[in-house]
């Protein structure tokens, strides 16, 4: 578990004081993927560096598994760091070393013998699907491949936590997707806690379970992905959310009118999926339970997340008024927002 308690961080450069973090508190549970999102300069990179002591707070406390790390000397910090992996926006590989030597470096630092290092590194090359690139130099690799090497390097010392500082920000969308998939796989299969700092809401939406939103050094919002997406409280969060959830034309009034014209009969109901859940069973259940009604999906926009889907669906229900009432009550009992657009 990673805990930050009321942390302030000031930088003084050429006499000018800059407050990078203002009274930030948060808690990251073991095994989760936690996103920290904010525009550049929001303090998120400073925040993530607190966890492995690359930055020391001016005041407040940072705990790793309940143990405060802020008083630790650089020397005492070393074992803590060895149990955390970190990857960066610009990969930070040593150009002077081959891929395999880059990956082995953390083990070399703690004095693991060459044979074991090599075996472990090859195992990780397999995990990141770069088996053929063992003897290549970083300059021969693409951005995505470099980040895979960096991930392998970060994982070689069997860390419990992986810190990702803008790890996909220098990559194109397709490569970003593949790196995020790899991170999710690492979290799932190896049970590694992942802290993901980014300015891309899309990255967070895809793999995170919880998010913290940062602005001007403050943590302005925190919560599960669906909470943040469905009920963004602050202007900054709303801006982020709208960046990711592209408003599809079908949610505007004009398109609703069009929809009503297109489907002249039956009631039209809008279902909004707030909890991350699978959509299929909901519709299926209704159809099984109410044999007399007819349901068809007419339009919608769903975003896939780790645990299911977020978004909305328009469905057309053809039923007598009592059945319709029962259906609506049934839906309302689940964690679905129901809005009747048109009564039959």
């Amino acid at each position: 578990m990673l805990t930050v308690q009321q942390v302030n961080k000031q930088f003084t450069r050429e006499g000018e004081t800059f407050q990078a973090l203002k009274n930030v508190s948060l808690e990251i549970q073991d095994g989760e993927i936690y996103g920290i999102i904010g525009y550049s300069g929001a303090g998120k990179s400073t925040l993530i560096r607190l966890f492995n002591g690359l930055e020391k707070p001016t005041s407040g406390d940072v705990l790793v598994n309940g143990q405060s790390i802020i008083g630790l000397s650089e020397q005492a910090m070393r074992p803590v760091r060895q149990k955390m992996g970190m990857i960066f926006q610009h990969f930070n590989l040593l150009w002077s070393k081959m891929v395999i030597d880059n990956i082995m470096l953390p083990l070399k630092l703690i004095g693991v013998n060459k044979k074991q290092r090599l075996a472990k590194a090859r195992q990780l090359l397999k995990l990141v699907e770069l088996t053929d690139y063992e003897a290549a130099y970083p300059s021969e690799l693409s951005g995505g491949q470099k980040q895979r090497v960096a991930i392998a390097r970060a994982l070689i010392s069997d860390p419990a936590i992986l810190l990702c500082d803008e790890a996909t920000s220098a990559l194109d969308p397709k490569t970003t997707a593949s790196i995020l998939t790899l991170l999710a796989k690492i979290n799932r299969e190896l049970g590694i806690t992942i802290v993901l700092v980014t300015h891309e809401m899309d990255a967070v939406r895809r793999i995170c379970q919880r998010i913290a939103v940062m602005e001007n050094g403050q943590l302005i919002e925190e919560g599960s992905v669906h909470d943040i997406f469905e009920r963004p409280q602050t202007a900054a969060t709303k801006a982020f959310v709208s960046e990711s959830l592209v408003v599809t034309p079908s949610e505007t009034q004009a398109s609703i009118d069009q929809l009503l014209n297109r489907v002249p009969n039956g009631s039209i109901v809008k279902l909004r999926f707030n909890e991350e859940q699978s959509v299929q069973p909901v519709i299926g259940q209704l159809m099984r339970r109410y044999q007399a009604i007819e349901i068809s999906v007419i339009s919608g926009s769903l975003q896939q997340t780790v645990n299911g889907a977020l978004g909305y669906l328009y469905i057309q229900i053809q039923a007598d008024p009592t059945d319709l009432k029962a259906v609506l009550a049934d839906l309302a009992q689940q964690t679905i927002e129901v809005e009747v657009i048109r009564h039959d």
Partner: protein, 229 residues
């Protein structure tokens, strides 16, 4: 031996005593090689010290950095020919002599090591800060950072810097030759200039040029081989 004047005077190869010439070449190469090795080691350590103390905020480091930086700037600025004369008493004390190749070594080192130290410091500063941070995040110690990251990542710059230093050292050894350190500089000055045998001066020049070219080429090849950027 006849002395021919004008352009012709450069091509009187009968003036050249090849055995002496090779002896002088050997002396120059030996002196240059010795001083390059010593300058490389000393310059590296000084450069590392400048780099490390330059980054630290501790007052001790600041003071140390100031002193080293001052020495480096002072010795780098003294013209070599003056430095060598200035150091005669010191040389006598350390080497026991002020004549011959060995006598030139202290002056060569004192003038070139600070120069190389600056190049080393510069090379270290050019190492990607992100890579250093990444290695710190792995739990590397200060010395592991130096040997595992700083050194390999700055190696091409260290080597090309050493090549530049070596070439100026070859020039310095020739100058040192004039005041009795032997080698091609000495030969060109005494047998060439003072005895008015221009051919000897020309041959010595050509040999020095060849040594410099070989040095440059070797340096370039090494850099090309180790640079995987």
């Amino acid at each position: 031996m006849t002395n021919v004047n004008g352009f012709q005077s450069y091509f009187q190869f009968n003036q050249v005593d090849w055995a002496t010439m090779w002896q002088a070449t050997f002396e120059t190469v030996w002196l240059s090689a010795m001083s390059v090795i010593l300058v490389a080691v000393l310059g590296f350590l000084l450069g590392l010290m400048l780099y490390q103390t330059g980054q630290s905020q501790r007052p001790m480091s600041r003071v140390l950095n100031g002193i080293v930086a001052l020495c480096v700037n002072v010795f780098r600025s003294i013209p070599f020919i003056i430095l060598i004369v200035l150091l005669i008493p010191l040389t006598k004390g350390i080497m026991g002599t002020m004549i011959g190749p060995k006598a030139a070594i202290p002056a060569l080192i004192i003038s070139a090591a600070p120069f190389y130290a600056r190049l080393v410091e510069l090379a270290f500063h050019e190492v990607d800060g992100g890579v250093l941070e990444a290695t710190r995040s792995m739990g590397a110690s200060k010395w592991q950072l130096v040997w595992q990251v700083l050194l390999p990542e700055s190696l091409p710059a260290l080597v090309s810097g050493l090549t530049v230093t070596a070439i100026s050292l070859i020039g310095y050894t020739a100058m040192a030759g004039v005041i009795g350190a032997g080698g091609l500089g000495n030969l060109a000055y005494q047998d060439g200039f003072q005895a008015n045998q221009n051919t000897i001066t020309l041959v010595a020049t050509v040999i020095i040029l060849i040594i410099v070219f070989i040095c440059q080429k070797a340096g370039d090849l090494v850099v090309k081989h180790i640079d995987h950027r």
